[in-house]
Symmetry: C2
Amino acid sequence: MIRSWRAATPPETVERRDSVIALVREGQAALVAAFEALDPAHPFAVREWDRPGGGGGSARVLDGGEVFERGGVNVSVVLGDDLPEEVRRQRELPRGLDFFATGISMVLHPRNPHVPAFHANYRYFEAGKMDDWWFGGGADLTPAYPVEADVRHFHGTLKAFCDRHDIANHAAWKSWCDQYFTVRHRNEMRGVGGIFYDDLHLEQEGGWEAAHALMADGIRTLHDAYLPIVERRRQDPWTERERWWQEIRRGRYAEFNLCYDRGTRFGLQTNGDIEAVLMSLPPMTRWETDAVPEAGTPEAAALRYYQPGDWA
Amino acid sequence: MIRSWRAATPPETVERRDSVIALVREGQAALVAAFEALDPAHPFAVREWDRPGGGGGSARVLDGGEVFERGGVNVSVVLGDDLPEEVRRQRELPRGLDFFATGISMVLHPRNPHVPAFHANYRYFEAGKMDDWWFGGGADLTPAYPVEADVRHFHGTLKAFCDRHDIANHAAWKSWCDQYFTVRHRNEMRGVGGIFYDDLHLEQEGGWEAAHALMADGIRTLHDAYLPIVERRRQDPWTERERWWQEIRRGRYAEFNLCYDRGTRFGLQTNGDIEAVLMSLPPMTRWETDAVPEAGTPEAAALRYYQPGDWA
């Protein structure tokens, strides 16, 4: 998946790209190993794919696990001579720019309604022969039953990560995440947020190296941000009603990803492997009219968390 | 829901609008009565909603029925002074046109995997103070297990309906439907198609009256097109595997509706009642990596039907 572009690329660009590709591949191996350690009986399958236009990917996917009912950790390299519409529109770039993109993306949908779903994505783009480059990333948590201590742990870990980097801006990236992961037609966040950034670019203080170092640390931080929460909640007993609420919340997840998620649109527009692009979609999902919980229930308490809050 | 616009509207326009509103209301009452007759223990709930910008709707919705696991028959009136982007883009119209739209839309998701899901929509638009008007409509069938006789019955009934109207073009409307209801990122139709038209407008031979008469007949025809299939299949026994395949196909249904469906986007853009707009989304739905049936199975046989075929 990563050979074809090398010959025609200047050595210093090759070196940079390789160093990001190494990050995402190492990140994938470490995270999959950590997820598998929670449920050794259900290893992630390997799914390698080539992209006709250039590049490809390696997805590690799981269906029917005990801890994770469905999930995946995908790395990909995508390149071409016409930056996809989704990215052009975001960055107000013209048609016909050659581009290179690589990143790691993961989504985990736990079986137990008390274990939050998790998403993270770290990515690197070049457009127009290195005339422009940028890094983006972030992670967010989607509990059906938010527990304040867990939400604080997750946000606190991400804030501590940001605080380790001069070029990070936790307050701005937290707000960006709240805004980005909003199911607009319901005026409700998909979950409890986290961080989201897309603005580490060419003119960045510290340059490419600082943005790259931040990405490396960001991927490592995912272990500490998420795994302790899984450990704490995975043995919690759960009821039919809690399962029902989890399935309803997964419906919101699917609505967000199919209606609004840029990564999903980018994947569909670049003809990525469809199973890798849509690995984010939940397993058992439910739509039902007026699934609005009654006041005083744990489900009504959950709803309050799906609005921006100060959790770091 | 239908009073506020009358005072400021010329009488002949009021008369036309009222006559379409009567069609969709009568159609709703008759179809809901027919669906309820199949399962008297589970009547459709009534959901009336006002639209802040003007208009509103009346949805009849069902969750947890025996024959229909989820479904709805919605009528709505939407008006305003800036035609939504979704419609402007389709028809290459400028911003700032006042508009009026009314229609009937229905989606039925049966519980039994052998009973096909069903969708139909008939609609009427005006833009720019009657400088422009158009009618659109259509119906399509989404079986998890297509039975050739049922598919032929459905298409044959729609063709006979088209043949009763000089201004209808069955061949073109059938192709339009095949194309429209394609899940583009999978290069696969949502179901087995039907008819779709959006081109009965101002310059139409026979004028407004002929287009209106076609709409009336189109709504009546839905009974004959769909109900006999439900009757034939509703007692069929079904297995866990068949349920699994139905849930997988519902995932495709949700992908289409959230990614591509114009009616869904129009509903979200015009701030329609969210439960009425999303009543099309299936109840229990499943995503799973590589849910590709093995050759020789009934599920593999089903896949062949999700490409354009000659069934009328």
